[in-house]
């Protein structure tokens, strides 16, 4: 199969998932609303002292982003599994890994990207400075694709398994720890005046690793689930 047709298949999967999401907007909006509400609940639980809120902001935003991604993972393959599309993808002349990559990219465009763009607004609630907000957005832009890539493995493993929704969080959340540490760490380092470059480059390294191995592991897991 030629390279160009692989790329066009990749593009087609992304376009298809975006089109489906546009026809059913509520799913995407639920994830975003969940993110907003979780972040807004923290000041209510902790108290309105600005110094304290500034300090916890990176952690709170990142944990909320983790949970919101988690919430949207169940939809990643479930619908395609139920209506037989996944079988067709597994039997396509296009390698399944390419189609899976497309689905993960679409998942990120629909969950990670909006979260990253929404984060500065929520950061204002926590009195973060403009510079830190910028670092937060960059960290989320690099980190959330890793969440989608690793999450896809968990979603594929729990496909059609009873209690899959809760199970996927048990499987995937421990694996999210490095992203959480360096994502939140980047903003904290910036707040502490240390500069966030080291954290961001490590996040980028995780992204490279996850982009390389993630779709492959997801493909193996999907073939197991379909058997």
């Amino acid at each position: 199969m030629a390279e160009t047709s692989l790329l066009s298949a990749l593009g087609a999967v992304i376009r298809r998932d975006l089109l489906l999401a546009m026809r059913r907007k509520s799913d995407v909006l639920t994830t975003l609303f969940f993110f907003v509400i979780v972040v807004s609940l923290f000041p209510l639980g902790i108290g309105p002292e600005m110094a304290m809120l500034r300090q916890i902001a990176p952690g709170v935003l990142w944990v909320a982003a983790l949970l919101a991604t988690m919430l949207s993972l169940n939809r990643l393959f479930a619908a395609d599994h139920a209506d037989g599309t996944l079988e067709q993808m597994a039997l396509s002349a296009v390698p399944l890994g390419v189609l899976v990559t497309g689905k993960v990219v679409a998942h990120w465009l629909l969950s990670g990207l909006p979260l990253a763009l929404l984060a500065p607004v929520l950061g204002l609630q926590f009195d973060l400075a403009a510079g830190s907000l910028g670092v937060m957005v960059v960290a989320l832009l690099i980190g959330t694709p890793v969440l989608s890539l690793i999450g896809a493995i968990g979603a594929a493993l729990t496909l059609g398994v009873r209690g899959g929704g809760v199970l996927v969080s048990l499987l995937v959340l421990p694996l999210y720890v490095p992203v959480l540490i360096f994502g939140a760490g980047a903003v904290e380092a910036d707040l502490g005046g240390l500069g966030a470059t080291a954290h961001l480059s490590l996040l980028a390294a995780f992204l490279a690793l996850a982009a390389f191995f993630g779709p492959w592991a997801t493909t193996v897991a999907l073939r197991i689930a379909l058997e």
């Binding site: 199969m1 066009s8 087609a12 298809r16 067709q88 296009v94």
Partner: protein, 204 residues
């Protein structure tokens, strides 16, 4: 040419069939028969490479299908119980997208023609949600016309189809066989196919 030798299928702890062998030449159609739960769907999924046989192997032109991977999948079309039709997309979008996902993109005109050929004229731009079960099945079957594949594996393709649609599909399969294609299918209903091309395989 599709060859299966000495296949064994195990589901859970039960062995559904063993020692199953057959051979399918270009232009021939294999009709798999058997009671519910006799392993028809399992056999079809094995032929596609979705499931692995407990024993035995399946070869395409002499090569094991496991080794051929994408090269084999490029010759294969599988139509299972679930039609892979998205409720939120129109009939036309469904037809075009499933062809693209299979690796054979088609243009709008070809997709419209295929839908019309299966009697879906005027319904091309309706979301699949409002179509009847039989119409949805026909949307799923447009893939037969759009993806130029050698081997068709059809699991109960007649479910929910009316008489005209059954006759129509029979014609499509006949044309496929006449042009050197192959088909493996299961069906509880009678499918009108030209005599002489159909071989029977009973699973008991």
């Amino acid at each position: 040419m599709l060859e299966a030798s000495n296949l064994e299928c195990v589901r859970g702890e039960k062995s559904l069939f063993r020692g199953l062998s057959f051979r399918l030449d270009p232009g021939a159609c294999l009709m798999v028969q058997g009671a519910n739960g006799s392993g028809k769907t399992s056999l079809l999924r094995m032929i596609c490479g979705l499931a692995q046989p407990e024993q035995g192997d399946i070869r395409w032109n002499g090569e094991p299908i496991r080794k051929l991977a994408e090269d084999y999948r490029g010759e294969l079309l599988y139509c299972g119980h679930a039609g892979a039709v998205k409720d939120d997309l129109t009939a036309l979008e469904n037809a075009r997208i499933s062809a693209t996902l299979a690796g054979t993109p088609v243009d709008v005109e070809a997709a419209r023609l295929a839908l019309r050929q299966l009697g879906l004229k005027g319904r091309e731009d309706l979301p699949a949600r409002v179509l009847s079960a039989g119409q949805k099945r026909r949307v799923a079957l447009t893939r037969l016309l759009l993806e130029k594949r050698k081997l068709w594996v059809l699991d109960e393709p007649l479910t929910a189809l009316d008489k005209t649609a059954v006759a129509n599909l029979g014609g499509v399969i006949d044309a496929h066989l006449a042009s050197g294609g192959m088909a493996v299918l299961t069906s509880h209903q009678d499918l009108p196919l030209a005599a002489g091309r159909v071989e029977q395989l009973r699973l008991d």
